[in-house]
Amino acid sequence: MNRRTTRRQALKETAGGLGAIAASWLMHQEGLAATQELSGPANLLPRAPHFAPKAKSCIFIYMGGAPSTIDMYDHKPNLWKYDGKEAPFLIKGRRLGGSQQVMASPFEFKKYGESGRGVSDLLPHFTKVVDDVAFIRSMWTDRIDHSTAQFTFASGRPIAGFPSLGSWAAYGLGTENQNLPAFVALEDSSATIKRRAYGSAWLPPVYQGTLMNVDDAPIPNLTRAEGVTELDQKEFLEISAELNKLQQKKYPLDPDFEARIANYELAARMQLEATKVADISNESEATKKLYGVDDVHSGAYGTRCLTARRLVESGVRFVTVINGEWDHHSDIKEKIQALCKKTDQGVAALLIDLKNRGMLDETLVVWAGEFGRLPTIEAQEAKPGRDHNPYGFSIWMAGGGIKAGVDYGDTDELGWQSLEEYKVSHHDVHATILHQFGLDVDKLTFEYEGRSETLVGVQPHRVVHEILA
């Protein structure tokens, strides 16, 4: 596949027109998975992966701004031993002459679950699902600022302009519900890299993520504009179809025109289906309570998590839930507390809910920020914070063929630097996620400017088999 043949491109975008879309739709309706070769035209029809997949869909909970995992679920008892004192070894951070004074977590850790893992009192809900996740406790990146680290995590490169992880997944696998986008982003207003976290760059536009709102209209232009009645819209669709069919008589062989006629029908179906998916009112009270959708703190975020579940349930391949508020340079105590209050319940509820519905096995859930935060104090103020720490941090993964209860890797005694032999990079995480989808990151290629591009490019990478079931 190549972007250079625009004409053919147009053909590709359209999946061979109405026929193919309808066929796939019908097959979907009948519960059959249509599969086709990857080398086919650019479309969202389901495709066979490289090998048997463990996960059908992925929910990537992206905590932008770099959460301080040593305050959350990375219990480092020695932090208390050195609290307020100089670190026993040189702690390097972003700043020259950065603080060497260790700051213990202001939160209390206890052991939870059968795995007996330490979780702080920031995450009361997470303690209930702590046995369901695998931790990678030795994450590492060579990117020390948000911009380049976030782009790397979103798209495998430190700069914008490369297809995002979800776009690669959509490109590799297509999707099972042609009436919904293959890849959906649920974004807080705090998210920073925005569109570029779910853009398709030079992959064909069908693979780009669609931004979905949980409050107002779920997808831009999904609802009728003000002053337009249902009847108006029905007439619009009829007249459009008539006008386009008249035009098509003159150009019966052009697949573009056929595709555009089909797209109006598809848009109308999408309007119904996406609206339905975004409407959580028919969820049971128990479910709503589980996610805390009516709670003043966790309501908005919980609704995003619940919507994420509804999306994968409806066949969406990849959902990314993006927040960007974790950059706690000062006053980390207050800020992280408020943020955990906002996110903890929804995230835990998502795992519980997926499990209860028997969906967790085939839904990969990833919780991650672009890096972590230093064990030392930043700024000798009354309300101190922590500076960036790309040298060592943690993320977790669950479901979708991940081995629950595994801890992989570790950092030094203060949680600063990952142990060399266990280091895991963003690229390793990418390779692992695609692996769970049955995709080999090196084989999922796209020809661009004469190069066979992949998600990871020339960066070293490996599947973290140690956390797989």
């Binding site: 250079r4 625009t6 004409r7 053919r8 491109q9 975008e13 219990h75 070894f89 390097k92 020259l96 795995s115 007996g116 893992r117 600022d145 948000h146 380049t148 976030q150 700069i159 914008a160 302009g161 925005k194 569109r195 570029r196 760059a201 064909p204 536009p205 669609t210 709102n213 209209a217 997808i219 831009p220 232009n221 009728r224 504009a225 003000e226 002053g227 108006d232 819209q233 007439e235 619009f236 007249i239 006008l243 008249l246 098509q248 003159k250 595709a259 555009r260 797209n263 109006y264 848009a267 999408m270 309007q271 595994v406 060399e420 032999e421 400017e449 004469g450 190069r451 490996r462 088999h465």
Partner: protein
């Protein structure tokens, strides 16, 4: 933690994971993250940018290895033999101030022992000329274009310009000829959309259809080429090529305050038909053409040429706002600029050669760094110029069009961050207040309306100014804020977003092994691509003359690129013009003229056009005339089943294939048909705001004008105008986007079906039709003539009767009908 420990144990006991069991000591320190900051604090004042005592510069690995008067500062792997270590260890350095702490000393020693160092031995001594084979030099696009005489053809009656002869000769091999001319109504719509990006008015169509003059068609083309909107249409094409954007490209994606002046420069250049060689030279080296002296106020004559170099500043450069010390981003900015501009001008993607010799094209890694050396005086990783938007630092990447006093006053004002911060806080509060009052006003108006005293047709947008009038207390507050802002704010002098050589003596450029700036190898001098060079008489960059305020490198490059017989420059441009007129280039990979790219479908035609384009003064307008006066261009777009089957993508140009309009042309055409298009040209971009359902639209509340042509809307990488982006306008995430996607996506249908912009324009269109014609048939006719440039056909008229006849005064019904017209394929395509 039990589980955790046991798993670690398992890991330690099994050696099946492919990594060493023995715990390694700490990884070697990173020069960039760990060592450089140490040197920066204690060494740079004497061995850095301002001073290089003992000729030693510690700011890059390369300069450390190059060393100073006593030789290389570091012997890789051997601290005791390294002068740097000897000086530190003996306490001779750092001179004055604090020494390094013990931990830091250990780190430096460990870095010398284990760190990664460049091999300064020239790794590749092979004569580069020998690496380029004669076959490589003989590749079609690397050979000079030669114009063959136009071939003789059988269908001589179809030949209007030499273009036709070249196309016919290929068609006739198959026994084909060109399609007949399109009818006049179709043709004039095609020509308008092509040259000005909006459809003709019904009167213009009528005048052309009924014009008996033999040169009726020529007159239309001349009129459009003289239209100021021609520059807006074709300027946008060039902005795609340049990768123009108003934002920086980092995560937060800040705006560049003055970037839009370059956009205006491009529009003007097209309108005055600036010869392409001159057009390019100014963009690549305008500063050097006018010998601009850094730090001085540019003369009025210099300003224009400096603005032109905005071309070089278009690609993402996250150091525009980045204050963190990170060398990699400097290299990113430098290299992205080199790659983008080379792709734009030569149609070659040289990015591969950053890490190794190009696998497919005869482009050497040395070539890549030779090109880099040309640009390095502007983006010098060892003398990096901050952009410092919003700060008072000086000099910055903006040239201030101001004298010394004004500049200093501005810097002083900008340098008081506290005052600015307070002001900003007040501005936020004021903005909140506007919103609050706007809500209140809305409630009041709604109440008025429901009580019957207000207007009946919707509540118009409430501007800030109206609010201030309606609520005096808000007005006073806003006035006070403005006064304070004015007092505090020394007027910002005009800032020029330009590129210029920071120094006449830039740091050396090294070939970077595997593209890694931490692994510099041999030094590389500025130069051109070896495959285009003459091995017997290599192209040389002259030493700068004493009277130059610059290195002259980019000017030399620009002169080389614009030689009349350059194999790529004019060819690539001619092909781009062809692409924008026909929907496909003669070379169907307009950005890959290398070996992996497509071969020209009509090589002789491409060369003929190229040579004559140059001969005719590199004139765009000459090129448009040649193309548009040809029979090939005037052909009907109708399908012929046999030919569609044999040549589905129209490689032989047996017809003029329909083209879906670009995003801007769609939006501008909608505004034209609705009668709302605001023709005002130039100036600062129209700002954007995000709607509650996540769409980016023109921010009319903050004074944005949503009726202007799309080219004047803010181009922000992270937040692009949604309707434009939906129809494949490129947000320029990285580099440029000379060839757009033309996707057919359901979200496009959603935008046409439900998008408020389209619905509002459809209503204006409906009202226009209803007010301009009184009787039903006239209205129907008017609607189709405005949108399609022709009267309705029978089926279309019947459809109108079916839906509208019994509701001929119903605005909503007409709106729905008009909206369907705007969303129809007949409207969205040029035929």
């Amino acid at each position: 933690m039990k589980h955790y420990l046991s798993f670690r144990m398992v890991l330690l006991l099994t050696a099946s994971f492919g990594f060493s069991i023995a715990a390694r000591a700490q990884a070697p320190p990173s020069f960039q993250h760990e060592i450089l900051p140490l040197f920066e604090q204690r060494c740079f004042s004497c061995h850095g940018e301002s001073q290089k005592m003992g000729s030693l510069d510690l700011r890059s690995l390369a300069s450390i290895m190059a060393g100073g008067t006593s030789g290389p500062a570091v012997v890789a792997g051997d601290p005791d033999k390294s002068i740097l270590w000897q000086m530190l260890d003996s306490g001779k350095m750092p001179m004055g101030g604090d020494g390094f702490k013990t931990g830091e000393m250990q780190l430096i020693r460990y870095w010398i022992e284990k760190g990664r160092f460049p091999s300064l031995q020239a790794a590749r001594q092979e004569k580069q000329a020998n690496k380029i084979t004669p076959e490589a030099r003989n590749f079609w696009s690397f050979k000079k274009p030669v114009a063959q005489p136009a071939p003789t053809v059988r269908h001589a009656e179809q030949v209007r310009t030499p273009i036709d002869a070249f196309i016919l000769s290929r068609l006739e091999e198959k026994g084909w000829a060109m399609s007949p001319d399109a009818d006049r109504a179709t043709l004039i719509r095609r020509v308008y959309l092509d040259l000005v990006g909006t459809p003709p008015t019904p009167d213009e169509v009528l005048a052309f259809v009924n014009d008996p003059a033999v040169d009726a068609y020529e007159k239309v083309i001349e009129r459009l080429l003289a239209s100021p909107h021609y520059g807006e249409r074709w300027g946008r094409h060039w902005l795609d090529v340049a990768g123009y954007s108003d934002s920086v490209g980092n995560a937060a994606d800040e705006l560049r305050p003055a970037s839009w002046e370059y956009r205006d420069w491009v529009i003007r250049a097209f309108n005055e038909d600036k010869p392409y060689d001159r057009f390019l030279m100014e963009q690549l080296a305008g500063d050097q053409m006018v010998n601009y002296e850094p730090g001085t106020r540019p003369t009025p004559e210099q300003v224009d040429s400096l603005v032109a170099t905005g071309f070089l500043r278009a690609p993402p450069d996250i150091t525009d706002v980045q204050t963190i010390y990170q060398v990699d981003k400097w290299y990113d900015a430098l290299q992205t600029t080199v790659e983008t501009s080379m792709k734009a001008v030569t149609g070659l993607t040289i990015g591969c050669a950053k890490c190794h010799d190009h696998k497919f094209d005869p482009i050497l890694q040395e070539d890549y760094y030779r090109m880099t050396a040309v640009y390095q005086p502007v983006w010098d990783p060892e003398n990096w110029l901050p952009a410092a938007i919003g700060f008072g630092e000086w000099p910055t990447r903006y040239i201030l069009d101001a004298d010394k006093d004004a500049t200093e006053a501005w810097i002083a004002a900008k340098s008081d961050p506290r005052a600015t911060r307070t002001l900003r806080r007040e501005e936020y509060a004021l903005n909140d207040a506007y919103e609050e009052y706007r809500r209140r006003r809305l409630d009041e108006l709604t109440a008025q309306r429901s009580s019957g005293s207000g207007q009946s047709d919707g509540i118009p947008e409430i501007t800030d100014a109206e609010l201030e009038k309606a609520y005096p207390e808000l007005g006073e507050r806003a006035e006070a804020f403005r006064a304070k802002k004015n007092a505090l704010e020394v007027p910002t002098p005009r800032r020029l977003w330009a590129a210029w050589d920071v120094s006449k003596e830039p740091s050396p450029t090294y070939l970077l092994l595997r593209g890694n700036y931490l692994s510099p190898a041999q030094e590389v001098k500025p130069g051109i691509l070896a495959v285009l060079d003459d091995p017997d008489k290599p192209f040389a960059f002259p030493d700068p003359k004493p009277e130059w305020n610059h290195t002259g490198r980019r000017l030399t490059l620009a002169k080389w690129l614009t030689q009349p017989d350059h194999p790529l420059t004019a060819r690539v441009l001619v092909n781009r013009a062809w692409l924008y007129h026909f929907g496909e280039g003669i070379v169907r990979t307009p950005d890959d003229f290398g070996t992996t790219g497509a071969r020209p479908t009509h090589p002789e035609l491409l060369d003929w056009l190229t040579v004559n384009f140059v001969k005719n003064g590199w004139s765009f307008k000459w090129l448009h005339r040649q193309i548009m006066l040809s029979t090939a261009y005037r052909q009907s777009s109708l399908e012929q089943p046999q030919k569609v089957a044999a040549d589905p993508t129209n490689k032989l140009l047996w017809r003029k294939a329909p083209i879906r309009l670009e995003a801007e042309a769609i939006r501008d055409s909608i505004l034209t048909v609705s009668g709302e298009l605001e023709p005002r040209m130039f100036g600062k971009y129209e700002p954007l705001t995000k709607t509650s359902d996540g769409e980016w639209i023109v921010d009319t509340k903050k004074g944005g004008d949503d009726a202007r042509r799309s080219i004047y809307i803010l181009n922000r990488r992270s937040a692009y105008h949604s309707l434009l982006q939906t129809f494949d306008a490129p947000p320029m995430d990285n580099g440029n986007a000379p060839q757009r996607f033309r996707a057919a996506l359901p979200i496009q249908s959603l935008a046409l079906m439900n998008g408020p912009f389209v619905v509002e324009r459809a209503e204006a269109f409906a009202r226009r039709v209803m007010s301009e014609r009184n009787e039903f048939d006239g209205r129907v006719r008017r609607a189709f003539e405005l949108a399609y440039g022709r009267p309705p056909e029978d089926g279309e008229r019947n459809l109108a009767h079916k839906y509208l006849e019994d509701r001929s005064n119903d605005v909503e019904a007409w709106r729905t009908f008009c909206q369907a017209i705007l969303g129809s394929n007949q409207f969205l395509y040029s035929f």
